[in-house]
Amino acid sequence: MSRFLRLLSGFDNPLIVKDGISRMRSWRAPLAITLYLGLLGAFGYAIFTIAVLTSQYTRTASSAQIGGSVFVSLAFFQLALIALFAPALAAGAISGERERQTFDVLLVSRVSAFGIVWGKLVASLAYLVLLILTALPLFAAVFLFGGIDFEQFVLAHVLTIVTAVAIGAVSLFFSALFKRSLPATVTSYAAAFFMIVGTFVAGLLLTYIYAFRDRTTGAYGFEFHPLAYGNPLFAMYVVLTSPSGAPVHVGRLLQLLFMSGGEPSLWGPQLEPWQVCVGSELLLTALAVLGSVLLVRGRRAMPLRRSRPVAVEAVS
């Protein structure tokens, strides 16, 4: 089997098909798309109007500047919307099966624990990706104004999709952990908030603590703690506003992570904030999927290590 066919076979999962049919037949599916595009469109139009009005007064803003500011605003707004939608879609995926009393029947089928988690994750994320894809024409229209190059356009969407995947995977983990969807959803929203806002605030605090504690830091410029450096908001900001990026050596990032002093390390390749963000979010996704698989597997009787079949006489 070719690598491409093997990749495709991963999507031949009955849960993906079933959840897809079930979700798209619901009245909520088109409503959510309408709401999403409506909010994004209204927000984009408001920013565009403000930018045009401002340019009339200042007479300095070009079409590229207007396009750039609208694109940046839209990208951040989309990231916020996706962070709001992802827990709602994924946090009830497994706990909902328990509440619907269909989980045991799934467990006695041939679908593996990984198959259940993978199917649920892809089914939830497919809808999020659909939302992002439906908004592409809006971004493409803004892209025509200039001010944003194609690489920035692609990286902004990569960051959004990877963040959606990470929040979805963490929400799925809570869905496997909790028996009911309500606590799973509340915890997932808290986790999403921490991933987007909490890491940035905590990273900034650690950055200032480090700067005050280790005076030598000042000699090497203002350096963000990796918690803030790999934050999706910061990564998005650097991608969209700083074409030259803000590369830092892996060694220096590790020094800053563990807040150790001394000369800045030049060990390892230089990484951009978006690379740190994507890498850490993919790692978080892998851990969340692994945790979910272990939790689902724990609901099944596991094979014993030693075989001990016993012939039993009929009792009458």
Binding site: L15, V108, V111, A301, L304, R308, P309, V312
Partner: protein, 315 residues
């Protein structure tokens, strides 16, 4: 086909199963009877690979459940005591989904789903959304779901609970049909007269221990000292009733004869041959209109076996 030996399971301080041992021969319908909390569902969940036993062994078709749960899942169709259904899926899509989950080849899924819908008499509902089906229909659909991979063993946990009488009869006929198809069926239920009519083997469980297991007739005879039979005559005229009474009283194995207005009821001992008595009655020209066991024997057996005793209460 199913063999359980010394199964123990503890939930915290509560001993749910205490050395449960029984076998179910191939092709039999095994009625698993016991009061609430006796350990029926725990036993069924262990057989369905949904829970591990603390000790003891269980094999299905010779495959140890604890050692090779994957192989056991191929052999077993499980119907839990609740029926979860998905919203916005039609009956045929619902079965196709589970067929896919059980690894049924894509090209066969639709045919399998349609055949099963016909089997459970839901062929005309195949495009109906499952959440709009009646309770009885959902229950039959769930039975069809347990059959998508053509398992040799069916584990049915309270399949008739909450069903109206008509739906119960339909479910009973369906289970009989499945036995004719060669399935071995373990069915738990609280509706004892129904189990009595349906099952060929029975096992009583109480407080995690098996208190009686075996073929239905043997268990009933052993537990209920004196099984009862009802005999209706064509004409319930007093003279004919009296002569039948005398004849019955002389028949070996008949412990008591009661004239009850328009019919006669007799109490018979263990191992009594019903067919022999019927042949003798007909041979002696007694005008027999109906000859049947008195319903409720299993209920009586159930009550006797599960009544609290000092020994049980001390456990």
């Amino acid at each position: 086909m199913i063999a359980i030996d010394g199964l123990r399971k503890r939930f915290g301080r509560q001993l749910a199963l205490d050395g449960v041992t029984f076998t179910v021969p191939r092709g039999e319908i095994f009625g698993f009877v016991g009061p609430n909390g006796a350990g029926k569902t725990t036993t069924i969940r262990i057989l369905a690979t949904l829970a591990p036993a603390d000790s003891g062994t269980a094999t299905i078709g010779g495959v140890p459940v604890g050692d090779d749960p994957g192989a056991v899942r191929e052999l077993v169709g499980y119907m839990p005591d609740f029926f979860g259904v998905y919203d916005r899926l039609t009956a045929v899509e619902y079965l196709e989904f589970y067929a896919a989950c059980h690894g049924v080849d894509r090209s066969r899924r639709r045919r399998v789903a349609l055949e099963l819908l016909e089997l459970v008499d839901l062929g005309d509902r195949r495009e109906t959304q499952v959440d709009t089906l009646s309770r009885g229909m959902k229950q039959r659909l769930c039975l069809a779901r347990a059959l998508v991979h053509d398992p040799r063993v069916l584990l049915l946990d309270e399949p008739a609970s909450g069903l109206d009488p008509r739906a119960r009869v339909e479910m009973r006929e369906l289970v009989r049909e499945l036995r004719r198809m060669g399935k071995t069926i373990l069915v738990s239920s609280h509706i004892l007269p129904e189990l009595e009519e349906l099952c060929t083997w029975v096992g009583f469980i109480d407080r995690g221990q098996m208190v009686a297991v075996g073929p239905m007739d043997q268990v009933r005879d052993r537990v209920v000292a004196g099984r009862r039979l009802r005999i209706d005559l064509v004409d319930a005229e007093e003279g004919a009733m009296r002569s039948a009474e005398e004849m019955l009283a002389e028949h070996p194995g008949v412990l008591a004869v009661d004239l009850l207005g328009d019919h006669i009821e007799i109490t018979v001992g263990e191992g009594f041959e019903d067919a022999g008595l019927l042949a003798e009655l007909i041979g002696r020209k007694v005008p027999v209109r109906a000859f049947s066991p008195v319903a409720g024997d299993l209920s009586e057996a159930f009550m006797r076996l599960t009544e609290p005793t000092e020994e049980r209460l001390s456990r």
